[in-house]
C-alpha cells in the first residue's frame, strides 16, 4: 500500500530524515514512534506531498509522490499536527469546502462524517471557538470526508485530556478496521493501545520496525529483576550475581546509605529470584526488596533511542 525507499530530507545542513525504508500493508495501523525532533512530522509531510524529499522514492497505492502528487493526495486523508484549520469559518462551511474541493457530492456525507466524529452538535460554531478536543475531531472529519483508503495522522491525541484521548483512540481503532492508518506519536502507550505495527525512529533513522506484539514479546523474554541489598558494596554483589545462570547484565540503579539497588537482566527460562535470595543468604547480605518486571515498550524505546539503560 505504502512503500518508502531510501527517503532522505535535508533542511540546509540538518538531516531531518535519513535514508528511511519501510513498507506498510493494507489494513495495518502503524505507529511512527520517536522522541520530539526525530523526523516524524517531516516523514509524514513527505508522504502527503507537502514537502519534497531531497532523495528517495515514496509510492502510495499505485502512485508515486514525485510523479502524480494530486492522485496521491486524492487517496489519502491527512491530519497535520497542530490542526491548522481555518479559524474564521463555521465548522459546517469548512467541511463543505473540503468536500467541494475533493469533489464529494453526496449531500448526506457531511452529516454522516459529523456523526462518526461526534461533532454534530457543534456544526454551526466558528472553528476558532472550539476546544482542542473538538478541533481535533473536526480535523479528523476533514481528513476522512472523502472516505480515503489511507489516513495519515500526525500526533492525533496531542493536547487532549485523558477522556478525549481514549475516545480518539477508540475512533482510530474503529476506522482502522477498514483503512490503512499511519499515526505518529511520542507516547508509547498509544502505540500499545492502537497500533498493529510500530516503526521507531530516532534522529531521522529507523531503529526498530516490527509488530507491536513481536517487539513486546521478543524483549518480553528478557526479565528484569530489581533488588535492594544491604551489607555489601556493588562490585562484590555484581561479581556474585554474574556467576548465576542466565544473567546477561547487572547494573546499579540506586542506593541509600549502606543499601545498594541493582538491576539484573536475564533471559533464563526459570525464575532467578530464588537464586538471588540464596546468593544473598550465603554471602550474609540482607535482602530488603526484590521485584520482577517484563521489559516494557517504554524501556525498549529508551534503550533504542538513547542507546543504553537508564
Amino acid at each position: 500500500m505504502i512503500s518508502v525507499r531510501e527517503l532522505t530530507r535535508h533542511y540546509g545542513d540538518l538531516v531531518a530524515v535519513n535514508n528511511l525504508t519501510f513498507t506498510i500493508r493494507k489494513g495495518e495501523i502503524t505507529g511512527l514512534l520517536g522522541p520530539n525532533g526525530a523526523g516524524k512530522t517531516t516523514t509524514l509531510r513527505m508522504l502527503t506531498c507537502y514537502l519534497t524529499p531531497t532523495s528517495g522514492i515514496v509510492s502510495i497505492g499505485d502512485f508515486r509522490v514525485d510523479e502524480d502528487p494530486i492522485a496521491v493526495r486524492e487517496i489519502i486523508g491527512y491530519l497535520p499536527e497542530s490542526v491548522p484549520i481555518y479559524g474564521d469559518m463555521v465548522v459546517y462551511d469548512y467541511l463543505k469546502y473540503v468536500a467541494d474541493i475533493r469533489g464529494v457530492t453526496d449531500p448526506g456525507r457531511i452529516r454522516e462524517i459529523a456523526e462518526l466524529c461526534g461533532i454534530s452538535e457543534i456544526m454551526h460554531k466558528n472553528v476558532e471557538e472550539l476546544s482542542k478536543g473538538y478541533r481535533q475531531r473536526v480535523g479528523l472529519a476533514h481528513a476522512m470526508i472523502h472516505d480515503p483508503e489511507i489516513l495519515i495522522l500526525d500526533e492525533p491525541t496531542s493536547g487532549l485530556d485523558p477522556n478525549q484521548i481514549v475516545e480518539i483512540r477508540n475512533l482510530i481503532r474503529e476506522i482502522g478496521k477498514t483503512k490503512t492508518i499511519i499515526l505518529s506519536t511520542h507516547i508509547l502507550s498509544e502505540v500499545e493501545a492502537t497500533c498493529d505495527r510500530v516503526i521507531i525512529i530516532n534522529e531521522g533513522r529507523i531503529v526498530k520496525d516490527s509488530t507491536v506484539d513481536a517487539i513486546t514479546s521478543s524483549h518480553g523474554s528478557e526479565i528484569v529483576i530489581h533488588a535492594t541489598i544491604g551489607g555489601a558494596d556493588f562490585p562484590s554483589i555484581e561479581a556474585a550475581i554474574r556467576k548465576l545462570n542466565g544473567v546477561t547484565h547487572v547494573s546499579q540503579t540506586g542506593g541509600e546509605g549502606d543499601l545498594v539497588t541493582v538491576e539484573v537482566q536475564t533471559n533464563a527460562a526459570s525464575d532467578l529470584r530464588p537464586m538471588i535470595f540464596h546468593t544473598a543468604a550465603e554471602n550474609g547480605w540482607v535482602l530488603y526488596e526484590m521485584a520482577r518486571d517484563a521489559m516494557t515498550l517504554e524501556r525498549i524505546f529508551r534503550d533504542l533511542t538513547i542507546g543504553g539503560g537508564a
Binding site: 507537502y50 494530486i70 481555518y86 469559518m89
Partner: protein, 242 residues
C-alpha cells in the same frame, strides 16, 4: 460520487475566499475607504461641479493610485495568512495544484475589487442626469478599471505569497503597483530615444488609452501579460517554499 472539471477546484477556492471576505470586517473597511477616496475625487476635485462638464475623467485618472493602495490591502492576507497559521499545509495536501490555489485567490480578489467599482456607478448616474455623458470613455473607463483591478490583484497575491507577515506583503504589493503606475511620471527625465520603450512598461499609459474609450489589443495584452507573470510567479513561490 465525485464530480470532475478542470476549473472546479479553483472556483471552490475562489468561492471560499469571497465568503471569508464578506464574513469578516476587512471587506467593509476597504469598501468604505475606497468609496471615501473616490468620492473625494469625484465631488471635490472633479471639474463637474465647477464647469458642468459631464465626464468622469478625474475619477479614472486617480484610480491607478487609489487601487495601488486599496488592492494590496484586499489581497495581503490571501496567502500570507495561510503561511502564518499553517493552514497552507492543509490546503496543499488537498488534491489541488499550486496553480489552482494561485488562480482561485487571484480570481477572488478580482471579483472583490470589481464589486468595489459597483457603487461608483452612482457617479455615472449623477453625471448623466445633469449633463449629456459620452458613453464611450465611461464604458472604456470601466473596462480599464476592471483590468487594472485584476492586474493589481495578481500582483497583490504574488506579494502575499512572499511573506507570512501581512504588513510586509501589503508594502511589497503597494511598492510594485505604485512603481508601475508612476513610470509615466518619470518619463520626463529620460532621453528621448528610450522614452517609447519605457512608456510601454508604464501602466498609466495603457490605462489612459483604454479609459479614453479606445480598446486596443496591445493595451489588453499588456495587462494580461502582467497578470500571467504574477500568477506564475505566485505558483513558483508556493512550490519553492516547500
Amino acid at each position: 460520487m465525485k464530480s470532475r472539471g478542470y476549473f472546479r477546484k479553483m472556483l471552490v477556492i475562489m468561492n471560499k475566499e469571497l465568503t471569508v471576505y464578506f464574513t469578516t470586517p476587512i471587506a467593509y473597511i476597504v469598501f468604505a475607504a475606497f468609496l471615501l477616496t473616490t468620492g473625494f475625487y469625484f465631488f471635490v476635485l472633479s471639474p463637474f461641479f465647477f464647469f458642468g462638464q459631464a465626464e468622469l475623467r478625474e475619477f479614472f485618472d486617480a484610480l491607478p493610485v487609489i487601487f495601488s493602495i486599496t488592492v494590496p490591502a484586499v489581497t495581503m492576507r490571501l496567502i500570507s495568512e495561510e503561511r502564518h497559521t499553517g493552514s497552507l499545509e492543509i490546503l496543499m495536501t488537498l488534491p489541488v495544484t499550486s496553480l489552482d490555489v494561485a488562480m482561485g485567490k487571484f480570481l477572488a480578489a478580482t471579483v472583490f475589487v470589481s464589486l468595489m467599482l459597483v457603487p461608483t456607478l452612482m457617479y455615472v448616474v449623477t453625471v448623466s442626469i445633469v449633463g449629456s455623458l459620452d458613453p464611450g470613455p465611461v464604458a472604456g473607463g470601466y473596462v480599464g478599471a476592471v483590468l487594472l483591478g485584476a492586474t493589481f490583484s495578481s500582483i497583490g497575491v504574488f506579494a502575499s505569497s512572499i511573506s507570512k507577515n501581512q504588513i510586509i506583503a501589503f508594502m511589497i504589493g503597494v511598492g510594485i503597483c505604485i512603481t508601475l503606475t508612476m513610470i509615466d511620471y518619470f518619463l520626463f527625465f529620460l532621453p528621448a530615444g528610450i522614452v517609447k520603450a519605457f512608456q510601454y512598461f508604464g501602466l498609466g499609459y495603457h490605462f489612459k488609452n483604454i479609459s479614453k474609450g479606445i480598446i486596443d489589443t496591445r493595451d489588453i495584452i499588456y495587462f494580461l501579460s502582467i497578470i500571467a507573470v504574477a500568477v506564475l510567479g505566485t505558483v513558483k513561490i508556493i512550490e519553492e517554499r516547500r
